[in-house]
């Protein structure tokens, strides 16, 4: 299907062409075409099992695709690509279940990869870690361990941990789905700020308010296909596809979210 053009003429950071993937005989991705441009914010939504998590997990090859091409920052990704680590360190990822390292403090979680992967000195890594922990508004939690933090705090540490690697793009895999409702806001606020700072973001989420407020384009997936791609106003107010309309009516029973 046609890929709708984003505003401005910016080079794509990510290009997916005809990407397909199977789990056994079940096809989870069907000929996905998608470009992500620099500083673009893309929200991917769709019913569970639609392939949206698999799609972003292919972008850093936590999952291997079996057909088609994925290019990230000029490098074509293949499962057997030597030095896939060099690609991954430019791609931040935030997981549904935070996945912090339990034996390290918040600060150490943020310092580990910059020291071991980027070769930063301890002092430089600590300075960066403190900067980003302040940016996600938990500088005072630096010396706590993950079990000592709330879910919302853990997810913000996870975001800071990714940012410490200075990624070119950030992937979010349902970052608020495992949170208690009262903690969703603090994580979304941090993500909104990140978007406003110009970070390239691909966010899988059901938070339609976030999508409307932040996204440049909303991608709707169903049964492994991209069904519709549109800027949020068009996506929410005039969905073209019947499947999109049905999905929106299910997750937005009280009407479409307001722009705030």
């Amino acid at each position: 299907m046609a890929v709708s053009e984003p505003p401005g003429e910016r080079a794509p950071v990510v290009t997916m062409r005809g990407v397909s993937k199977w789990f056994g005989s079940f096809q989870v991705l069907r000929a996905i075409d998608l470009d992500v441009h620099r500083a673009e914010r893309i929200v991917v939504c769709g019913p569970s099992g639609s392939g949206k998590s698999t799609l972003i997990r292919c972008l850093n090859q936590l999952e291997a695709h079996q057909d088609g091409t994925i290019t990230v920052d000029g490098v074509e990704l293949r499962p057997d690509l030597p030095g896939i680590e060099a690609v991954r360190r430019e791609i931040g990822m935030v997981f549904q279940r935070f996945n912090l390292f339990p034996h390290l403090t918040a600060l150490e979680n943020c310092m580990l990869a910059p020291m071991k992967v980027r070769g930063l000195s301890r002092a430089a890594a600590e300075e960066a870690a403190r900067t980003y922990l302040a940016r996600v508004r938990i500088p005072e939690q630096a010396h706590k361990y993950p079990v000592q933090l709330s879910g919302g705090q853990q997810q913000r540490v996870a975001i800071a941990r990714s940012l410490c690697m200075n990624p070119k793009i950030m992937l979010f895999d349902e970052p608020t789905s495992a949170l208690d409702p009262e903690m969703v806001g603090e994580v979304l606020d941090v993500m909104v700020e990140l978007a406003e700072s110009g970070m390239t973001m691909v966010v899988v989420t059901h938070e339609m308010g976030f999508a409307r407020r932040v996204a440049d384009r909303v991608v709707f997936m169903d049964q492994g296909e991209i069904v519709e791609v549109a800027p949020p106003a068009a996506f929410f107010d005039h969905p073209r596809n019947e499947r999109t309309r049905r999905f929106l009516s299910q997750i937005l029973p009280a009407g479409l979210p307001e722009t705030n």
Binding site: N60, L62, E85, A86, V87, R88, R89, E90, I91, G92, M93, F95, R97, F98, N99, L100, F101, P102, H103, L112, A113, K116, V117, K144, Y145, P146, V147, Q148, A158, R161, S162, M165
Partner: protein, 223 residues
């Protein structure tokens, strides 16, 4: 039936007992340290090595865990010279202890590795860490924390098992006891005292293990 205990005749040999106890402690500690390296490397290979290597490690583990320790010592001390590898009793004892504890240790540490949530490994990969970096910095410490009680129990067993090394006249506590009772014919007293010394050595090791846990492996408590 009455028996007159004569512990004085045992304590007269205290320098030999002390030397034996010290040898047991050194032999066991060395075997633990080297065995730990074997166990970690073996567990790494068993969880993420090539298939042929896993097969070899499985064979090693099954062989060691299903044969008597005494026979393992005899094979190393009396068997290996036949192919030109002659070890001193102490070296053979250390080798046998390492080979033995390594097999049990691999399975214990493998269980610890497999208890690690896959999400943490994915987080390490997504940060650009290489597999060995993930193993060393993300997996290893929580894995050891998870199985530390099983591992230390195995190490205590190793120290107690080291008494079997007296069979090849390695210089350790049980051999010293055998020497003494062959001279003073006070077997009951000698082995009672040696029982006490082994017990004391166990207490020393348990304390050391607790101290190591407190210093390096303490898990953070909730708030």
């Amino acid at each position: 039936m009455t028996y007159e205990f004569e512990f004085g005749e045992v304590f007269a040999y205290w320098p030999e007992l002390a030397a034996g106890a010290a040898h047991t402690l050194v032999l066991s500690t060395l075997a633990m340290a080297i065995g730990m390296v074997v166990a970690v490397l073996g567990a790494l290979a068993k969880t993420s090595g090539p298939v042929w290597l896993r097969w070899i490690i499985d064979a090693y583990i099954e062989l060691i865990r299903n044969t008597p320790f005494l026979i393992q010592i005899f094979l190393i001390f009396f068997g290996l010279p036949s192919i030109g590898l002659r070890l001193s009793p102490d070296a053979a004892a250390l080798t046998a202890l390492v080979v033995n504890v390594g097999a049990y240790g691999i399975e214990i540490i493998r269980a610890g590795i497999e208890s690690i949530d896959g999400g943490q490994i994915e987080a390490g990969r997504s940060l650009g860490m290489k597999p060995l970096q993930i193993f060393r910095y993300v997996v290893l410490k929580p894995a050891i924390q998870a199985i530390y009680p099983a591992l230390t129990s195995q190490f205590i067993l190793l120290m107690l098992n080291s008494s079997v090394c007296s069979a090849i006249a390695a210089s350790e506590l049980t051999a010293a006891a055998g020497d003494i009772q062959s001279r003073n014919f006070r077997s009951f007293e000698v082995y009672l005292v040696v029982t006490g010394i082994y017990f004391a050595l166990s207490v020393v090791l348990w304390s050391a293990f607790a101290g190591i846990e407190q210093a390096f492996l303490r898990k953070p408590s909730r708030r």
